[in-house]
Symmetry: D2
């Protein structure tokens, strides 16, 4: 169990990290919602605050007064158990409260929560909620970067977020090595080392993994370009049926953010428009593209169990958590015996276990220390605005 | 012909009036686009500037340098003759340029244009373009208010624009008097008195008007409430077929911005949520509602020719240009012999003469002096976010 | 007033003409609804029967028993005053009643109506309803041909309706002559000569027509091809704004049913796929295309008043009622003093006077004798599946 | 390996069974497509014929001549490897070829294939294609019944297919018994007993099944009614997030085909409208409803491995293959080492392994002998027009 002063320090650090991401942005930058999947930066700033207010302070500190009762509705993301929610697609319509007022809202909640933490010894259930709040806010830190990137990418001015914005690091272009694993009955899920895991990593259970091989590194832009040049987007035989429909209906011909300029292939990044680096991991591909690429080169995507087994086997894998998320072929489903937490907080993960695929690893936009071997990220197979890439299996 | 110093003064006045409307608003308020029909305030500020830059300065001042070449695309509304346009529905996506940069853009163009005007005697064609620019910017001043009202109305916080925001004035609740007009062959269109008219008011021509009667005042909220209480929205026999479909598909049961609260009927205004004034003119109704209301009380809407004829006859009409626009039963079509101006500026009006209805008069949001007896405003019959009301005929 | 035996003969003739159109078709041909605008042949056969049943027999013959009470709902087109309606877009879902049962329904109503007519002297109000029923059924005879053509055109087998299906006749390719008319105050609307007019042709009233010129013949396929070859579909300056959007969104590049084959330009007809005849009138164009074509050749479309005035002036016009309908620039609006009939039958025309344009004349698919100088046909400006063409004015 | 005479007999039997399903239907009944998911009966009759023509005759019998080359396109369902396809949603537009012509097409292919089979000893690859064709046609026999049911259900006349149409049999209303299974490492997939399995049942492989309990019978209408009466459709906490959106957006409040009549709860069946039998298995529920129901009663859906393990354990389960398909919680994904067949026939199953759930068992509409313990049926989680029900696990 964490000590109170560690909780306080962690709270401060988490909250500051969120604000540091927003710091280079104008009030206008923080206002825009570029698609229903994404949220305005302003909304992220408020919703992470609402989370601590709703699940920690309000139920435990009787004297607490909200800054504005309507915020309970405006900044509720998807917790039906809490009550009414402002429609997700209309988050960008809310010019009020202003960015400044939202910073006041953050300060108001911070003050109440820190004052209370300093005066009371948090028990284990409070500690668990605080840790959930920290990890929740870290997830939104990554979403702020991906949502922002999507929004800036729609602007013909090719705006720059920061000269040193997060991006997947280049890697030396060595040949892929195929690491062999015997598999067998293996433990899957959170092993209890560390202070936190999401409920979707539990319960820890045995799974059977058949022998497999895994690429030691991620697929690069250069390799993906070869797939494109070989007509990959025009060859129906490489694609899942829904994937082929998605390619045809959306005229997809390259990863998201790739642009063909007169001066060669570029990609839009948080640092503005940049020439494509062939040795960087390919990024912003859908599950459909990852799956088609794998089929094209005679491989396949790993299952989430293979991925986790390989990590736990100490298997010399590169680019695990600091580059791009790695699509797996596993549907996002509950582990045997999974039970969500009681109450509204139980809506966090369980109700989304449908029609999504698991991604493993982490990305250059993931806060350091946030992910782990048992971490399960998840998105629909056509989504591309996260930092998502490809690790191959056989 | 206007004197140069008058043109300069008018330019300054017009530009300042636009900025005065935006003055009470935050950068966030100026960023949001609440629907494709509406534009962000920021965009209005830039587009009106683009208009002078594109049609006046750029073609006539060879030394002029644009602040940013991409603005030519970003702030082009619908002029195919000028070139590429940023998609209308994505105007709210542009967090850059910031509000501050747009004010710099305004200053940049103002400085260039005023410097040039002070140094050159504008000929009649330049004068005509400047007058078009003034009137164009005045139209956007009204749109800024209506677009803003729509945006604020979507916010559950019921925000206030200004404590003294524009609204249709209350009128003493006298009985409607029916003024009789003989009609006959009458001149329709701009009569040349004044310094400007839009091309859609021309050519002046004869029209035949049959004898008619016109209400001396507008329909009030109280009268419209009687229509609602009599089941007007549920009686198909009162509605045009498209209107009935519109009512059913959108579950329409009151004018836009009316809200039924525990404390009685309210309406959202630029001054926030206000109790409904029964003696105020009904406002924010569609052509379909205006037409159904007229049928309900045994009357009809006037034609645009009847309306103009009555005004020219000096007919003792109240609430002509300062309250709400008045739907007519006339389709928005070209006058006999109508020819748009040559070049891209000819796209201003002519290409929209299809599937819209004419509104006459003016509203509380129309800049003083902007409208006139021959003025033709026009919207699709289901639109309600303008200040639109009802004057009856028989 | 028509004599009873004439009414009986006219009834028999009208009903048989409808069935003659369906005679060459299979049960499957009569089942399909190819778009919400069109109806299955089977439904036309039933609805025209329903019309006589609902407006003539049921209210006047107490002893009449319907074959099936649900038919009242299934075959109600748009009469809210009658009651519930089967959804328009689902007319093709109704495999039952079968075609055979619908012929029994026709016979059932025919027998009841003819028996009653033979036994009772119809008064003037009954006579008026019968005449409305005849003209209503004649309108559906034309719709059967146009709906069928649309359905067959979607079949890659290029099916043939009849070897001698209706099509606009070729005309000798003389140069267009421009006939001049002085206009002035002129009577518009049904003149009472003949036994019937629709309510939308009334009341007869004076209108002012300015001097104009009218082409003596229709625009040909050859002339329209020159417009296409000159880039007409790619030149925004020729199009109404909505028309340009329609062209771009639907990638329109030729009249409906034109097909570019290896062996040259063809057109799908009721006689199957045929080489395009350059001297035939261009057909299946929208108002948008008609308007753009007119602008391209420095002309315009006539108003409906000019068209009617020219006909009444005995102006030597060709191809008036037997070729293709002629788009006018007039919005479909009520004549001054128009009042629909009382009751549900009043829904026939009035409630559709919105967002449509008037077409004048008649087509090769119009039953002989159905149209007249005052006849007002009407469609939305993007509709093309009727036999619609172009007569120019200046 | 089957003997030639057995193949011939099986071919005849399969083809006749298909035609027997269509026998009670009119040409109109066979024409209609009620939604894009469903196909016209006529199309099923043709497509199953196309399958034998395309994959068996055309590649092997050089002298074979097609009846009509366009059929190759019209009746291709989803085989991109074969070439062009008529758009799925437009199958109901094809009034030609007529039902009669399609029976001629069936006879043409039957004659060619049977003649060839009688003259040549089919090798193992031909035999495999024939067996695939038989099983393919059996799947379409079930689809014909479900597509027909959907189409007839949209008709306000509540039509009857057959007085003795297939329906899930009533079962004695004994309490559910929970059968316990130890699980462990178990073999999953087709065991080679029998003459055929689809490729998606292969390869046979080991899977780990944790201890579980399974209901010996299916959930009944009566039990499902208790869920409804307890407010199941209004309690968000029971639903997956996508399921809750689906319920709200479609106002779902009961299984498909349930109707609340004055005389009590009814259900539309192939025998027309019938009072709901409380002891019959609940049918036409989506995965979302099955999952919510299970959560409501403190249970869950079985995985496909648990289901198959229980069957193989000889576990005294009732209503396995003759009642309704049973939703599992397993995503439809390839088994480890799965490889589709080479060529277009490989598109049969593999490309659909995405965003669907596995159903196990069989239904009253499944041809006898078609299913087996390893059989994997699959649909999207919102689909309800198949005979789909619920078996609970714990």
């Amino acid at each position: 169990m964490m000590k109170p002063e560690d909780l306080i320090a962690r709270y401060r650090r988490t909250r500051q990290a969120t604000e540091a991401i927003a710091a280079p942005l104008s009030a206008e930058d923080c206002q825009v919602q570029s698609m229903p999947d994404a949220s305005p930066i302003k909304w992220h700033l408020a919703h992470t605050t609402w989370f601590f207010e709703t699940f920690v302070i309000s139920p435990h500190l009787a004297s607490y007064r909200s800054l504005n009762d309507t915020f309970k509705i405006l900044f509720n993301s998807y917790y039906n158990g809490i009550g009414e929610k402002h429609p997700r697609a209309q988050r960008g319509m809310l010019s009020r409260p202003s960015l400044e007022e939202i910073y006041r809202y953050r300060a108001h909640v911070d003050q109440a929560l820190l004052g209370w933490l300093e005066a009371h010894q948090p028990d284990s259930s409070i500690t668990a909620l605080l840790l959930l709040g920290f990890n929740h806010e870290e997830q939104h830190q990554e979403l702020m970067l991906t949502d922002l990137k999507h929004m800036l990418s729609m602007n013909p001015l090719d705006p720059i977020y920061r000269a040193d914005g997060p991006h997947p690091a280049d890697a030396a272009l060595a040949e892929t090595r195929w690491l062999s694993f015997d598999g067998g009955l293996t433990d899957i899920g959170y092993d209890g080392r560390g202070d936190f895991a999401f409920d979707n990593e539990l319960p820890r259970h045995q799974a059977l993994v058949h022998p497999y091989r895994l690429a030691d590194r991620l697929v690069t832009n250069g390799e993906y370009l070869a797939f494109i040049n070989d007509g990959g987007y025009g060859n129906h035989a490489l694609w899942l049926s829904d994937g082929w429909d998605w390619v045809c209906q959306n005229s997809v011909s390259a990863p998201l953010y790739w642009r063909s300029l007169d001066t060669g292939c570029h990609s839009f990044t948080l640092e503005g428009m940049r020439p494509l680096s062939l040795s960087s991991p390919v990024c912003h591909v859908s599950l459909y593209e990852a799956d088609a690429f794998a089929r094209w080169c005679g491989a396949r995507l790993p299952t989430e169990f293979e991925w986790e087994h390989a990590i736990r086997s100490g298997g010399q894998l590169d680019q695990v958590q600091d580059s791009v998320w790695q699509w797996t072929s596993s549907a996002y489903l509950p582990y045997p015996g999974f039970a969500p937490a009681a109450g509204a907080v139980g809506e966090y993960n369980g109700k989304f276990m449908n029609q999504q695929y698991v991604l493993r690893g982490g990305s250059c936009a993931t806060p350091r220390g946030h992910s782990r071997a048992s971490y399960r990220n998840f998105f629909q197979p056509d989504k591309r605005w996260q930092f998502t890439g490809i690790r191959l299996a056989k």
